[in-house]
């Protein structure tokens, strides 16, 4: 009887939480096919090889237009790059600074620098992109309903516009994009980048790799978070058992 009531309340609350947060997802018009990601689930980790290939895609393709200003070059350590490699990558960019003579100059990038943005400001980006602003990629995975599934579906979702669809000037047809018109031309295609590890650079592979990389950049703390989480849950489970046993012991002399 009392158990029933608990179950009912629990189920109702669960339903409320579930439905409440699923709601915005349902609002999306297109169904996003679910992909298997290495970083899913309570024990998920980043597929480092995939993330490194994804960094290559980012470097050669995305970074020409998109900024990633919250991330640092040193974050690349998390996808398995060595300190030397990171130093070399950072040194490829020039960072504006003030010289000893007080005049504006540049210096070589350092691992402690933020990823350099392709444009100095929003207006410059829009001017170069026909009015469209390429969104910052630091937390892009978290900023879209569906997360990695959405990014993957978008990158692989370019098709010819169906007959009768009138496209805006400079716009491209995409199955996933809201309104189906996107200013970004299809960024990836078979053989768009050259992988050094022998992986075949198909469109799907490139999209999968860069999504893994962006997921890492959006949640660089994820592996540490989940590792700690597993330990915390185990500790709390043990604590719950002990506490409940002590409770039974203390209450054993109470006559109900």
């Amino acid at each position: 009887m009392s158990l029933n009531r608990f179950t009912l309340f629990g189920a109702l609350l669960g339903a409320a939480i579930g439905l409440g947060s699923v709601t915005p997802v349902l609002a999306a018009e297109v169904e996003l096919p679910h992909q298997n990601w290495s970083f899913e689930g309570p024990f998920g980790t980043y597929d480092k090889a995939s993330a490194q290939r994804g960094f290559l895609v980012y470097q050669q393709v995305c970074s020409n237009c998109h900024s990633m200003k919250q991330a640092y070059y040193r974050n690349l350590a998390g996808i398995g790059l060595s300190d030397e490699q990171i130093k070399a990558i950072a040194a490829q960019v020039d960072v504006p600074t003030i010289g000893d003579d007080g005049q504006p100059t540049t210096r070589k990038g350092l691992p402690s620098d933020h990823f350099k943005a392709p444009y100095p400001n929003e207006k410059a980006a829009r001017a170069a992109q026909g009015g469209a602003l390429p969104p910052d990629q630091s937390v892009l995975i978290k900023a879209r309903e569906g997360g990695p599934d959405y990014i993957y579906a978008l990158l692989t979702g370019y098709t010819e516009p169906p007959a009768g669809v009138k496209m805006g000037e400079g716009m491209n047809y995409n199955k996933v994009m809201a309104g189906n018109q996107i200013a970004m031309a299809a960024p990836l295609s078979d053989g768009r980048v050259e992988y050094t590890d022998g992986t075949k650079p198909t469109l799907e592979q490139e999209a999968r790799d860069v999504t893994t990389f962006l997921a890492y950049i959006a949640n660089p703390e994820m592996e540490q978070r989940k590792r700690l989480g597993v330990r915390v849950m185990l500790f709390l489970a043990a604590l719950t058992c002990v506490t409940y046993a002590v409770k039974r012991q203390i209450w054993s002399d109470v006559h109900h």
């Binding site: 009887m1 009392s2 608990f6 009912l8 309340f9 109702l12 609350l13 339903a15 409320a16 939480i17 439905l19 409440g20 947060s21 709601t23 915005p24 349902l26 609002a27 309570p42 919250q70 991330a71 640092y72 974050n75 969104p135 630091s138 937390v139 978290k142 900023a143 879209r144 309903e145 997360g147 809201a178 660089p220 703390e221 978070r225 989940k226 700690l228 989480g229 597993v230 915390v232 849950m233 709390l236 489970a237 604590l239 719950t240 506490t243 409940y244 002590v246 409770k247 203390i250 209450w251 109470v254 006559h255 109900h256």
Partner: protein, 424 residues
């Protein structure tokens, strides 16, 4: 010596302090030997859990504030910096963000428990009303806290909610300007919201103190809804309820930890990871899940002022609940019809929450309106009438002695005696 307390503590240091400031005596009286009904079920954990949650929010909030930058130019980046660069900053942020959701889960269950077992009835009316004040303060705090990361939902949520006040006749626009500190949601708004968001939890702490004081004057209600008659009906708070609350706390922490470590963004909204942009309106502006039922009520009324009145009315009505419910019997256990209607009411509240999260189109408008109407019907019509019409089941003589006596001490209805009291 006038005014000195006669302390019974043996330890000379404790005795010296206690004689001058009887904190130890007070703690022993209120949390040690405090006589507490022996028949609490686990729903009676949630008050203690809310207290723990409040402390978690204050502690994480203080450390977040050390690293947060309350300016429109820096807020979003500073939150990202907390997650990426501050030692265990991600933990602080995710505990604080999910802590808000946990706080509302705990407090809503605490309130439904109060509704089910009639904890708002004489002599606990004021205790209940103070609780409603805490709910209002929590809502204001949570709303302002959600604005601070300065994402798209922060900005547009703040715009929509502050604009509600413009519905107030004559002075509405002045109030909105005052809230904004200007003529739109902007830097001054963010600054004052941060200041108030830091202040409010301490106001809540003060009101929680009053809530606890009032509780310790009237004593707790219990699942049977009858007052303890003798020492046989009660147990000392410690160790019986300290340990029982600890069990609840462990389970609560597990739910909390599962959210924080494995799904920190599950209850949030993706749009809030896009920096605030006054020029781009999100497709659907929705508040956090815990406001959705009230949002549904707001949208159910075609007039703006009407919607605002109904929304605030849905909480204001709780203040007078002790006088709307005319039944002398507290616990739904002995009110067969009220008990069924209580389940209906819970379903209606949850449905309102679901409707509040949907775009206001088609069937959801109808569902929202029907549920809104029922919400008010429940308090304004059903409760006053039910108290007069419903025939309550016989109440047990005492908590310890489950012998049933009908109300007013009249002859026992046949079969009532045969039905043994259920054990909690």
């Amino acid at each position: 010596m006038v005014g000195l307390h006669k302390s019974e503590f043996k330890n000379p240091v404790i005795n010296w302090v206690d004689t001058r400031l009887p904190l130890f005596t007070m703690m022993t009286k209120e949390y040690g030997v405090f006589p507490t009904p022996k028949n609490f079920n686990y729903f009676w954990n949630f008050g203690a859990l809310a207290m723990i949650n409040l402390m978690i929010m204050i502690v994480t909030g203080i450390f977040l504030a050390m690293n947060y930058n309350a300016s429109t130019a820096g807020a979003f980046d500073s939150v990202e910096r907390i997650v990426r660069d501050v030692n265990y900053g991600w933990l602080l942020r995710y505990v604080h963000a999910n802590g808000a959701s946990m706080f509302f889960i705990v407090v809503y269950i605490h309130m439904f428990r109060g509704l089910y077992y009639g904890s708002y009835k004489k002599p606990r009316e004021l205790l209940w009303m103070i609780g409603v004040v805490i709910l209002l303060l929590m809502m204001a705090t949570a709303f302002m806290g959600y604005v601070l990361p300065w994402g798209q939902m922060s900005y547009w949520g703040a715009t929509v909610i502050t604009n509600l006040f413009s519905a107030i006749p004559v002075v509405g626009d002045y109030i909105v300007t005052l809230l904004w500190g200007g003529f739109s949601v902007d830097n001054p708004t963010l600054n004052r919201f941060f200041s108030l968001h830091y202040l409010m939890p301490f106001v809540i702490t003060g009101v929680v103190f009053l809530h606890v004081v009032a509780l310790h004057i009237t004593g707790s209600n219990n699942p049977l809804g009858i007052e303890p008659k003798s020492s046989q009906d009660t147990l000392p708070f410690h160790p019986y309820y300290t340990i029982k609350d600890s069990v609840g706390m462990c389970v609560y922490l597990m739910v909390f930890a599962a959210l924080v470590f494995f799904a920190p963004d599950y209850l949030g909204h993706a749009d809030n990871y896009t920096p605030a942009n006054p020029l781009v309106t999100p497709a659907h502006i929705v508040p956090e899940w815990y406001f959705l039922p009230f949002y549904a009520i707001l949208r159910s009324v075609p007039s703006k002022l009407g919607g605002v009145i109904m929304m605030f009315g849905s909480i204001a009505i709780l203040f007078v609940l002790p006088w709307l419910d005319t039944s002398p019997v507290r616990s739904a256990k002995f009110r067969p019809i009220y008990r069924q209607l209580m389940y209906v009411f819970v379903v209606v509240c949850i449905t309102l929450g679901v409707a509040g999260g949907k775009p206001p189109e088609g069937i959801w408008v109808v569902i929202g309106r029907v549920c809104t109407a029922y919400y008010f019907l429940h308090f304004l019509v059903i409760l006053p009438l039910l108290g007069k019409l419903e025939k309550p089941l016989p109440l047990p003589e005492s908590i310890a002695n489950p012998v049933l006596t009908p109300i007013g001490g009249g002859p026992l209805p046949g079969g009532a005696m045969a039905k043994p009291m259920e054990k909690m």
